[in-house]
Amino acid sequence: MADNSRPTLAIALAFLLAVTGALVFASRATTQARHFRTMDQPIHGWMSIPFVAHTHHVPPSVLFQAVGVQPRQPRDHRSVRRIARELNRPVPEVIAELQKAIDQAKRPPGGPPK
C-alpha cells in the first residue's frame, strides 16, 4: 500500500505545483495586460534612435540632436550602444540624455518641469 501510494502522492504534489504555477503566471500576465498602455518603456542599448523615437512618440530628429549626432541617410540603423561607442561615452549617459530629451519633448509648452 505504501509503495502504491508514494507515486500517487508525488503526482498529486506535482499537480498542485503545476496548478499554482499556472495561476501565478496567468495572474502576472493579466496584471501586465491591464497596465499594457501605461507600462514604462525603458530605453535599451540595442535600440536604434528611430526605434526609441517611435516607441516614445517623438520625432527622431529631436533625439539625434539631443545626443549631438548627425543622422545617416536614408535611415540610421545604429544602436544606442554603437553611437555611445562612437562618441566615446558611457551607454547609460547617452540613454539618460535621450530620456531627458523625450521628457522635454512630451512636456506641454509652458508646463512645469518633470
Binding site: A26, F36, R37
Partner: protein, 197 residues
C-alpha cells in the same frame, strides 16, 4: 546576450534575423519571441520589408528545426538504443516512439510557436523516434510560418509597446505550459485514484 542579438537585428536586419532564429531552433536558448516582436515593430517603422522578414524568420527556423531532426535521426537513434539496451528499457522506448508518432503532428505544430521553448527537444525526439520526415516537415513549415506571422504581426500592431508585449506573452506561454502539465498530471492522478479500491 539579448542586447547584442537585438543590436544585430536592428543594425543588420534580415540576415541577422535568419541566422539567430536558425541557431535558436537547433537548441541554443535565445529570445526569439522578443526578436520577432522587435522585427514586427521595425516593419511598422518601415525599417524592414514584411515579406522579407516573414521569409527570413520562417526559413531560418525551419532549417534549424531540420538540423535538430537530423541530429536526432542520424546521431540520436544509435545512442538512445544503446542506452535502452544497457538499461533494459526497450519496451519503454518503443512506447515513447509510438506516442510521438501518434501525437507528433499537433505537438510539432504547437511547439513551433505557442510552446516554443520545447521546440528543439521535440525536433530531437521526432528524429530519434523515427517520426516520418515528410510529416515532420509539413507540421514544421506550418508551425514556423504561423509563429512568424503571429509574432511579427503582433509586433507590427503594438509597435510602440514591444517590451510590454514580450512580458505579457512570456507569462502567457508559461501559464499555458503549466496548465497543460497540470492537465496531464491531473488525468494521471484521476486514473490512479479510480483504479485504487
Amino acid at each position: 546576450m539579448t542586447e547584442q542579438l537585438l543590436s544585430m537585428v536592428t543594425q543588420y536586419g534580415p540576415p541577422a534575423l535568419f541566422a539567430i532564429v536558425g541557431i535558436a531552433a537547433i537548441g541554443v536558448p535565445l529570445p526569439v519571441t522578443l526578436l520577432l516582436i522587435v522585427v514586427g515593430s521595425m516593419v511598422s517603422q518601415g525599417a524592414m520589408d514584411i515579406w522579407l522578414a516573414l521569409a527570413m524568420a520562417s526559413v531560418g527556423s525551419i532549417l534549424g528545426d531540420q538540423a535538430g531532426y537530423a541530429i536526432g535521426r542520424f546521431g540520436g537513434t544509435a545512442a538512445v538504443e544503446k542506452l535502452s539496451r544497457v538499461f533494459g528499457k526497450k519496451a519503454g522506448l518503443e512506447e515513447t516512439q509510438a506516442k510521438v508518432r501518434a501525437w507528433g503532428g499537433p505537438g510539432i505544430f504547437l511547439t513551433r510557436w505557442l510552446l516554443s521553448p520545447l521546440g528543439p527537444w521535440i525536433n530531437l525526439a521526432s528524429g530519434t523516434a523515427g517520426y516520418p520526415w515528410h510529416r515532420f516537415l509539413f507540421w514544421d513549415v506550418l508551425g514556423e510560418c504561423t509563429g512568424a506571422l503571429v509574432y511579427i504581426s503582433l509586433g507590427r500592431i503594438f509597435s510602440d509597446r514591444v517590451l510590454a508585449l514580450d512580458s505579457v506573452l512570456g507569462d502567457t506561454t508559461w501559464a499555458i505550459g503549466a496548465l497543460m502539465l497540470a492537465s496531464i498530471l491531473g488525468w494521471q492522478l484521476w486514473k490512479r485514484l479510480v483504479r485504487q479500491p
